[in-house]
Amino acid sequence: MTNQIDHIPLRKLSLKSRIYHQRYLLFMALPAVIWMIVFNYIPMYGIIIAFKRYRIIKSIADAPWVGLDHFRELFTEGDFVMVIKNTLGIGFMRLFIGFPLPIIFALFLNEIKHAGFKRTIQTISYLPHFISWVVLGGIMMNWLSDAGLFNEILMKMGVIDEPRFFLAEPESFWNIAVFSDIWKELGWGAIIYLAAISGISPTLYEAATVDGANRWHKMMHITLPSIMPTVSIMLILAISGILTTNFDQILVLRNAVNQSASDVIDIFVYRVGFKMNRFSYAQAISLFKSVVALILLLGANQISRKTQGHSLF
């Protein structure tokens, strides 16, 4: 019966009868809409605690308004500068080093002609993506401790004279965070580019071969331009995510000694909010982050649409 009704143009049916005929579909969709309202939209109401003096014992509505007091405190206190510096430092390093590397890896991997070997490399490169940051954090503490393998190797090579405890050095933290992230996600990040590469028509390469192009020419003039739409989309997402550091990773790798380099926005929210019970103050910086991220997303999307013709929406 339902499919017969589908052939009648929708406008000819009243809303009531449309709803009746779609009752099963609506019953399937409605729970998720309620879920989204509860778990995504009700927390948005909670944002207002950034403008209130909220204590966990009272309800959000009962808490007194304090206007921009928390923001004023945030922007004038020293912590803000440190937290923003660390967030942006790690964010930009990830953008400039961590963003291009999976693209380069995908391009080079694509040049491996032996199918079995290529598949093996891919399978191995995905492996760290499936290991949790807790475990990797444990592995890194093992490697980077003063008696660890990394120190042993560096000493044998004569790079350093005496063992260093890298995780206790604030000046090493950004490098540790960025390079361990690359180590974990290089292969996984390349999947999307490899997928885009596999969609390129072979005739393009054949035509280029006839024109006398070598491997390098093909890579630079066919493969790379062909995956540019994917690169643009990923770049928009990477730019909007610049303030979002890898929370799990930093939570595992941080400690009291490297705090001056490891306190990023997300960690700050967790630390100040949950360890010091200053929910409103922590929410102020969290809101600041969300708004900046949204502006960055819309901005990057707009620029990409104007210059490249590719955009998310």
């Binding site: 998720a32 927390p43 948005m44 491996i112 499936f130 807790v134 503490m141 929210v269």
Partner: protein
Amino acid sequence: MKIKEKKLELFPKINTLLMILICFITLYPIWYTIVLSFNDANDAQMGGIYWWPRLFSLKSYSAVFANANIINAFTISVLRTVIGTLTHVFFTAMTAYAFSKKRLVGRNVFLAIGTFTMFFNGGLIPFFLLLKNLGMLNNFIVYIVPTMFNFFHLIIFTSFFRGIPGSLEESAMIDGANEFRTFIQIIIPLSMPVLATIALFHGVWNWNDFFWGVIFVNDESLQPIGTYLYRIIAETASSNMKINMPGAISLKAVNSQSIKLATMVVATTPIVLTYPFLQKYFVKGVMIGSVKE
């Protein structure tokens, strides 16, 4: 001409070497950890083990498997991953099936509501307060219900369902099935690749997540293996700082180190064993996710 050809031959060789190097860098730290975990704890402390256990010992593993807390945490992880992933995949797929019908009343409004959630949210603290008000803290359902749905996964499902020929659904409906039955009996069996992909994505997240156990659960009997590991790693990290000072090395610290290594291996094995089997699916899944209409 000849020189040029030689140059060309050089690139594949360098490239092959580079790829082997990347594989080595990826695998060796993991291999090294496994090797150390199978070595006698006090012997491992002397260093110099690189490729193979020097003094093979299963003591760390027997200590791990004798620890009731670890077994309990492992069980919580398994339950959470299995129940959470099945619920998530079924619920999100069911919703996506309804959303994949362009004729659905209110579809555009629902899509707009959902799309916005991908780019903006209240943040950690309001989310915590919500879960607290719902009474979900210190409750096993905190692992299941708040993660039941994901709008990005809905988009992946929707684009897959659109590719299924409409005539299949029509014939089911002529036979008298309603949309829910069609979804269960026709769509689900046809969608195994995309269901497997999302199950893998969400399953990996469920298995590896430790933060939910840290922040939403105080009750130790409800903590998953990741949270258990986080707690012992955070503890040994602070004791490492003390070890850093001369003369503070104790045998106890070394043994806790080896138990930590063994727990890490135990916590990782299940997820690492599944992914090679699902690889062919998730590569496609990522591709579907990247396609914009």
